[in-house]
Each structure stands twice: as structure tokens, then as C-alpha cells.
Amino acid sequence: MKRMSTPHSISRVASFAVLILFSLYTLGPLVWLLIASTKSNADLIGTPGFAFSDFQLWDNLVTLFTREGGIYGRWLVNTMLYAVLGAFLSTVISFMAGHAFEKFQFRGKEKLFGFVLLGALLPAAVTAMPLYLLASQLGLVNTFWGVFLPFLVSPFGVYLARIFSRAYVPNEVLEAARIDGANEIRTFRNVAVPMMLPAFVTVLLVTFNGIWNNFFLPLLMLSDPRLYPVALGIYSWNTQTVSNPEMYHLVVVGSAVTIVPVIIVFMMLQKYWKAGMGEGAVK
């Protein structure tokens, strides 16, 4: 009992208090969103934010997925294509380049790599506006490809892939495969890639987050709502709330349905995103 009053336990209690306070700050709005998504439009405005009222989640979901001919479902599919397929292809491309930068010697290599890193620092506005103009000349504005293709470029992904290639793939193993007569492509696919699989998931998550968070490019490039990713769709619904307050609960439910699956996936893949941050920072 005496030990409870030592300065050490006091600071431990204080530590917990601080972390609980900040957890309330970070989780509070998400909890509010989940509770709000079960309410009717009238209850959203008329009842206390953190208390349940009439449980209308199912009705809300039906409204969400049937509104405007089920456009919300399309937005989810689009988002899967832009962010999941896009991140996957982008990661493959980054790992190929990262492998080349780490495992081959060629003239001007480090200069070229520095050039790629500069690309990682470039503000999005500097490329997004001219991308729009160039795309309009190529007829790519307001098309799937006008958004999808630029998303595949991830200089930061190349940087991470190079670091992972150094950390996970010993040169001796590659040399052994070469001596056995495997060509470079097969060596990469059958030897290097399996060794980097956890790293691949990590970079996939980082790239996914980048595309998932990019609002600027789809905003410029797309005017047809059927091509929107879900974040842009919800934004467009939110602009309608001013004239049509009926939209409030749709925006709330739509936001909840968008982020809940991603939160679940990230919870399951915790060790991978943490690894990515560790590698990106410590080295």
C-alpha cells in the first residue's frame, strides 16, 4: 500500500489520465459519427449528440444506397479501383524501381534517385493544375484514367521500396540465384519479392493512404458524379445540405460507411503500417 503513494505511481496515474483525455479527443468525433449514423434526420438535429434515439440505421442505409439510382455504391466501387487497385499497381511499380536502385549499378544512379526524391516534395497543386490542362488536350478530363494514372506515381513509395530492398534482400541470395542461371526478372519475382512481402503490404498501405486522402486531383479532373471517389461524392452531397437539409443524415451515414471498413482493415494490419513508419523515420 505504501508504494501507491510514491512519485512514480502518481506520474503513472497522470500518464494514464493524459492519454485517456487525448483518446477521447481522437475517438470522440468517430463515436459521434457512429451514433449519428443511426439517427433520422430530425433526431440528428433534435437529440443530444452522444445519446442514441430511435435506431434508424437500417432505414438510413437503404436511403444511402438507393439515392440517385444507387450512386453511393458506384462511389465505393470507384474508390476501390482508384485507391485499392491503384495502390496495388503503384506499389508493384515502386518495388520494381526500388529493386533496380538498390541492387544494380548504373551511371547517374544517385542523381536520378535524388531527382525522384525531389518529386516526393513537390506540392500537389504544381502538378494537378497542369495535369488538368494536359488531360483536357488528350481528352482524359472527366474520365477514369485521368485520375487513375496520375495516382500510380509514388516517389515516396520508390524511396521506401529501396530501403526495404536493402533491409530484406541480401545481395548474396540474389547472386546465388544468378549463378543458378535465373535471369533478373525471375530473380526479382521468385527470390526478392517473397522476401519483401511484409514490406510490400506496408508500402501498399502508405500508398493507399495517399490516394485515399487526395481530394485535389479528382476535384479538378472529374465533373461526372458517376466517376467520383467516395470522398468527393460526400463532399458534393455536403454542398447540397445548404439548400436541402434532408441531406445531413445522408452525409453522416455515407461518411460512416466509408471509413468503418478502412478502420477495420487498418486495425487488422496494424503491424504493417507501424513498420512503414519505423522504416521511413529511423533510417
Binding site: P29, I93, A125, L131, L220
Partner: protein
């Protein structure tokens, strides 16, 4: 990019060397073709565009537009535009509070986390990190509703405390935006710093403990210098992200009256290009903005390097 030479060890066998170069090209081709098309070409195009201006032919606006070379006129009009300058002042004021606040809070929370028992750490890391997964625009929607009297439990609490809730006015707007960005990025930086702290060798800390250093002293004079590299990198990425502020104020604009359409540099560029259709001005502003970001990154990197060398 097209000239790859074989590894020195293989230099004798030229036929194999050529095959090898082709194979290197195979690995680099997908990335660099996309990088060229969607990064390098747009940048060059922006630089070119910034030197031209579009003017309409004829007085009646018929016959379309004509593109003429105007030299540095677009740069001059960007630099003398009060809106552009104000957007830099706004973003400067925002960064001056946001960056120290975010970095300070993240460091303190990471240190506190580092001092806890294993199981609690895992739980708190996750709960602090979750907002980072929410896309910026949806985070803004959530907070917009939490700022809306009638819908929000927060504004009611404000009223109960006898305070008046308002988003009007510049400081309120800056804090309303900053709250969203801190909410979204706090956990990311905490986990980042925490991972760096985990890499600090335990015997170094034990040595400090034996020398009689308390928890606060250990944190400031032992742990902090050891993770200064990570902190420097985090500051760099935070600065680059923060100056590009767009989605949050763009969305809050419907409620916060002091957020103008040219509130941040990115909003100015968007406004010039897509509302005023002055692509020359938008391009010049983009180039100036990129140069400023480049300079800022250079100074942040330099400062954190110097800091690292001193310790």
C-alpha cells in the same frame, strides 16, 4: 536513364552486359514513364505556362482566345496581388502555431506512451492513430457538423459554459481548421516518435537512471536528442503538408465567413485557375509556391542536421 552499364564485376562479358542493361531498364521503365508523364511534364508545362497569357480576340469575345508571351508579367501580378500575399500571411500564422503545437503534443504523448506498460501502449497507439485513416475531406465534414449549433454536442457544451460559439473572425477560422488537422495528424506523429523511442538502446536510459536523472530530465536531455533525426524528418513533412492546406478550409468556407476563396496559397491557385480561368497567373503562383516550399524544406533539413550534429 537509357544508359545503363553493367556491374563492374561483369564488365568483361559485353553481351551479357547489354542484356543486363535492358533488364535494369525493364525495372525502371514503368515508374519513370509515369513519373515523366505525370510529374516532370506537368512541372515543365507549368513553368512554360507561367510565361504566357490568354487574351480574347476581338471586342465581342468571338473568335476564341489567343495565347501571347508575356515574360514575367504573371509573376509580377502574382507578387503584387494582395490576395496572394495575404494567403501567405494566413498560412504563415497557421504554421507558426500548428507546427510547434502538433510536434510538442506528439512528443509529449510519445514519451508518456513510452513510459507505460506494454498492453496499454497498444491500445492508446491505435486510438490516437485512427483519425489519420479518415480522409481530410471527410474529417472536415465530421468536424463541420461538430461545429454546427443544433447538430453538435460541442456547441451546446459551449453554451452551457456561458461561452458564445462563433466561427466568424480570422482567429476562430484558423483554430477551427487547426483543430481538424491536429485531430487528423496527432496519432501519426505520436506513433512515429514512439517507434523512434523504442529504438533507443535501453542501456543508455539505464545509465541515465543510475546517474540520478528523473523521468523529465531523461526525456529532455537523453531521449529527445536521440530521436532528433526522426523529429527533423517529421517537421519537414509536416511543414510541406501544412503549407499545402486546402481541403479543410475549402470545406469550412460554407460556415466560416472569414475564410475567403483565396485563403491559402493552394486555394489562391485553385481560384485563379478554375474560377478566374487565368491559367498563366495560376502557373506563376504555383512556381513561386513550389520555390518557397523548396526553400522551406532546405532550411528545415539544414536546421535539423545542425541540431543533430550538435548533440
Amino acid at each position: 536513364m537509357t544508359q545503363h552499364v553493367a556491374r563492374p564485376a561483369r564488365r568483361g562479358r559485353s553481351k551479357q552486359g547489354v542484356t543486363r542493361s535492358l533488364q535494369v531498364a525493364f525495372f525502371l521503365f514503368p515508374f519513370f514513364s509515369l513519373f515523366l508523364l505525370f510529374t516532370v511534364v506537368p512541372v515543365v508545362y507549368t513553368a512554360g505556362l507561367s510565361l504566357f497569357s490568354e487574351q480574347s480576340d476581338g471586342g465581342l469575345g468571338l473568335g476564341g482566345t489567343q495565347t501571347i508571351f508575356v515574360g514575367f508579367a504573371n509573376y509580377l501580378s502574382a507578387l503584387t496581388s494582395p490576395e496572394f500575399m495575404t494567403s501567405f500571411l494566413t498560412i504563415g500564422a497557421y504554421c507558426l502555431i500548428y507546427i510547434p503545437l502538433l510536434m510538442g503534443l506528439s512528443l509529449v504523448l510519445a514519451m508518456v506512451l513510452d513510459s507505460l506498460v506494454e498492453r496499454a501502449r497498444k491500445y492508446f497507439q491505435l486510438s490516437l492513430y485512427l483519425p489519420n485513416i479518415v480522409p481530410g475531406i471527410i474529417a472536415s465534414v465530421i468536424w463541420l457538423y461538430l461545429y454546427t449549433p443544433g447538430i453538435s454536442p460541442l456547441t451546446d457544451a459551449f453554451g452551457a459554459l456561458g461561452l458564445e460559439w462563433s466561427l466568424d473572425g480570422q482567429p476562430q477560422a484558423i483554430f477551427a481548421v487547426m483543430n481538424i488537422t491536429i485531430w487528423a495528424h496527432l496519432g501519426y506523429n505520436v506513433v512515429l516518435f514512439y517507434s523512434a523511442l523504442q529504438a533507443v538502446p535501453r542501456d543508455v536510459l539505464e545509465a541515465g537512471l543510475i546517474d540520478g536523472a528523473g523521468p523529465t530530465k531523461t526525456a529532455v536531455s537523453i531521449k529527445l536528442p536521440l530521436i532528433s533525426g526522426t523529429v527533423g524528418l517529421a517537421v519537414l513533412f509536416t511543414v510541406i503538408g501544412a503549407v499545402q492546406l486546402f481541403a479543410e478550409p475549402f470545406l469550412l468556407r460554407s460556415r466560416a465567413t472569414s475564410i475567403t476563396s483565396t485563403w491559402t496559397p493552394n486555394m489562391f491557385i485553385y481560384n485563379a485557375a478554375f474560377e478566374r480561368h487565368d491559367f498563366g497567373l495560376a502557373a506563376a503562383a504555383s512556381v513561386l509556391f513550389a520555390v518557397i516550399i523548396g526553400l522551406a524544406s532546405y532550411f528545415v533539413t539544414r536546421a535539423s542536421n545542425l541540431n543533430g550534429q550538435r548533440s
